[in-house]
Symmetry: C2
Subunit: 347 residues, 2 copies
């Protein structure tokens, strides 16, 4: 992910895609077990990025927990992401959101800078967990993808290794959460998923970036070796892959899948385009969103010797090319997202 | 404070100045009250900046608490600083410090991005607090200082308003800590102090920056109005000012001053210069240290309209001038620091 402000400005797609999971979060907040007083009630926000999509769900959860727990009971909201996340942007956003989730003086905000594929909290610490638009990112790229930045559109071959990495990561994620949740605690996960035919609904959304990279290779701006290293560690699990760990394996005794909702989420950028007809604005919005989650993959694959200024110019040119193409043919960039939302209970 | 890496690289002066307080922290860790199991043991690191000077004291404290509490009892280290602090640098430092304070899997790290002049934790949450080289920064600049960036060397007039701000800030700081500490919890504060004659031992350490600013005004690079806004919100309290809140006022019934140690801390940069005779290296080290804590005051006082590139060039030229002067006359930059370390107990 790129720097904080960037992501915060371009998180509208994610915000729309997670909104159908809010009722699940509210039901979880209504029914999750709370620790005995005076222990604080802990809400964990896993994969928070810089917080743009955290304030609304966290406020909904805090309001319900405040009503259940009564006044003055401390509520801790802990925003988790990787150590390299821009937590400064997150805390500044919380300070500058007057209508945020800190609805009284007994709600506190913290950050935990550690991968959610490791333990983030001590045992039986968390009452309520939330993980939005994050768990479809794998912990690593498990195999090269010939011809494309994304498994979905590359040559066949690496599918099995991606599937195995996705299985292992999902299992690891759930094992850590099972340890961290209080008995009776609940966790809501919302992420992109694949339908029965294996489609996520936006399978071509990275074609524009891939085309721009190929053009940059032809122009001699980027080497083939660099582009081969640019692979987004994304994997959209099917319904069966999502459900498997609750049926057998190390967490099946500890975690229950209470709800598994699925929805096709519309493209909010496209809706704005249909209303205005402004292809330039649509292209800017699409490219800003694309860049916010793909830039770090591109830049980290560039040769180490490239000076910072050159990297920046290269990235700017690359995404400008994507933007130009989208403006010429907006329909190609239109996405729909197959989303899954899970409400998970800890026994 | 400037960006993380910058501060981490130039924190040697602070590190030396806080080292005499480590035995007080160890005694506090030995005797502080711990919460009842299964509540985690919480250590608060107030004013952590980007963590360069936190890993050693936190490790000392964690080792003692681990021995006292036994294996598997969760210990939470929460690093606090203002929302605008570079917490990314802090978490990356923790990940890249193999010999750090996370001595086992039951030690967890968090961040709290909020001014320590507000409540950072819920009531009776913290067993052990540590605040190093931070509480001599005021919450705001209370008055203009004619002719200098620092109260100590400007024209007389604003002393009383600085003293009143320092009194109010110290009282506010201690009130919040009294609320946050468990009964029987302890807090160690180490900061620069003034001796009986009001001297901190390094009263002229900002003269070089002030001279460089005056030269920049003469050259037309900075306006007088901009320089008038550049005032470092630093105040070094006397022994009596430090002790006053424990004798009367809102926290006198809650907090006890168990130890009040004082020491003159040598300049570690000067020691290296004496060993090597390398005035260029000394000037670089001094200027790096100076810039790490003064840059934000300078840059935030520049006119809002100045483009980022111009600001950067201006800062670079300013500190290059300081560095050149120090290289020509190293003795002028030599500092000694009058330091105070307090061990405070919550009744």
């Amino acid at each position: 992910m790129s720097g904080g402000g960037q992501y915060n400005r371009h998180a509208k797609v994610q915000s729309t895609a997670q909104s159908f999971a809010l009722p699940l979060l509210e039901r979880a907040a209504e029914s999750a077990a709370l620790p005995e007083s005076p222990r604080p009630i802990v809400i964990a926000d896993y994969g928070a990025s810089t917080g743009a999509n955290s304030t609304v769900p966290m406020k909904a959860a805090v309001q319900i927990l405040r009503r259940r727990a009564g006044p003055a009971r401390p509520i801790h909201v802990v925003h988790n992401d990787q150590a390299a996340n821009d937590f400064r942007a997150l805390f500044l956003l919380l300070e500058s959101t007057p209508d945020g989730y800190r609805i009284d003086d007994d709600v506190f905000s913290y950050a935990a800078g550690r991968s959610f594929f490791t333990r983030v909290f001590s045992r039986e610490h968390v009452s309520l967990g939330w993980c939005a638009i994050a768990a479809h990112w794998l912990s690593r790229v498990p195999a090269a993808v010939p011809g494309h930045v994304w498994l979905k559109r590359g040559a066949s071959g690496p599918e099995a290794r991606f599937a195995e990495q996705a299985r292992a990561d999902w299992s690891t994620f759930l094992e850590h959460r099972a340890a961290e949740l209080l008995p009776g605690g609940q966790l809501v996960v919302v992420f992109a998923t694949a339908d029965e035919e294996g489609r996520c609904g936006a399978d071509d959304c990275l074609d524009g970036l891939n085309d721009a990279l190929k053009a940059a290779v032809r122009a001699g701006d980027v080497s083939e070796a660099e582009v081969e290293r640019m692979i987004l560690p994304l994997y959209f699990r099917t319904r069966a892959e999502i459900a498997a760990p609750f049926e057998r394996g190390p967490v099946a005794d500890q975690l229950t899948l209470i709800e598994h909702a699925r929805e096709v989420s519309p493209d909010p950028l496209w809706a704005a385009y249909e209303a205005t007809g402004d292809a330039g604005a649509y292209a800017r919005a699409f490219t800003g969103w694309l860049r916010s989650f793909s830039e770090s993959t591109v830049t980290s694959a560039l040769d180490a010797g490239r000076p910072e200024r050159e990297r920046q110019a290269l990235l700017d040119a690359l995404y400008a090319r994507v933007q130009g193409e989208v403006e010429r043919a907006p329909e190609r960039a239109r996405s729909r997202w197959n989303m899954a939302a899970l409400r998970i209970g800890r026994r």
